[in-house]
């Protein structure tokens, strides 16, 4: 699955996107954040405060409880500051 990172989450992890093979235990967006956190220091830093991380599945905003299921891409980013 394609995972995308934006803004300071991208900077902390050090890459804008990656392809990840997910274990079956990772069912929700929240699960994925917890799983990513354990991948290394840069991920632990990026997901340090999960409350300020937003997520989208296939370009639609979702809550951490959202099921990943057949998602093609999942994105993580800080609260939006456009406009």
């Amino acid at each position: 699955m394609k995972v995308l990172y934006f803004a300071w989450i991208r900077e902390r992890i050090g890459k804008p996107e990656e392809d990840i093979e997910l274990p079956v235990s990772v069912a929700t967006v929240g699960d994925l954040m917890n799983w990513l956190k354990k991948r290394g220091e840069e991920y632990a830093y990026a997901f340090d405060n999960p409350k300020v991380v937003r997520a989208a599945i296939d370009k639609v905003h979702v809550e951490p409880a959202a099921k990943i299921a057949s998602a093609r891409e999942i994105a993580f980013f800080p609260p939006m500051t456009g406009g």
Binding site: A7, V60, M80, G82
Partner: protein
């Protein structure tokens, strides 16, 4: 397409021209321009650098344009948003809405801006002589977007 994301300067006159060209039913045009200020958090800035989520930004704004069209009798909507480096005085975002009468055009432009601020996937970084940092989201903007939810509930009752 009424939503455009661009690295080039935004020209309000050019963006809005086609909203009324060749039609005589437009009675009201409301245009909002969000402009890059020379100061953020009390200190001068050199520029803002805007990042976005390509694809999602257009789709998310497009969903709110559709929502606005359901809520108000709009004749047209035009949105342009800068990405990349923007210097003080330049337009970051332009939202224009047309209608037969002013109330719908005002309400739609304000609704779209409130949602753009809180839901559209753009992020601003401040560039100063001393370095760069990401701008934090404002609770005030969440509150501004929240008021539209309330009125949609009221309207449904």
């Amino acid at each position: 397409m009424s939503v455009r994301i661009t690295e080039a300067p935004i020209d309000a006159a050019a963006e809005t021209a086609e909203l009324s060209r060749g039609r005589s039913d437009v009675g009201a045009l409301v245009t909002f321009a969000g402009i890059c200020r020379g100061e953020e958090e009390g200190a001068p800035i050199a520029a803002l650098v805007l990042e976005h989520y390509p694809g999602m930004a257009e789709e998310e704004i497009g969903r709110h344009v559709e929502e606005a069209k359901k809520r108000w009798p709009l004749l047209g909507v035009r949105i342009a948003h800068r990405v990349g480096r923007v210097t003080p005085g330049e337009t970051i975002v332009l939202v224009a809405a047309t209608s037969m009468h002013r109330q719908a055009a005002f309400a739609a432009a304000e609704f779209l801006m409130d949602y753009l601020k809180t839901r559209a996937p753009f992020w601003k970084k401040v560039e100063r002589a001393g370095g760069t940092h990401w701008i934090a989201a404002h609770d005030k903007d969440d509150a501004a977007a929240g008021r539209w939810k309330k009125s949609s509930r009221e309207a449904a009752e």
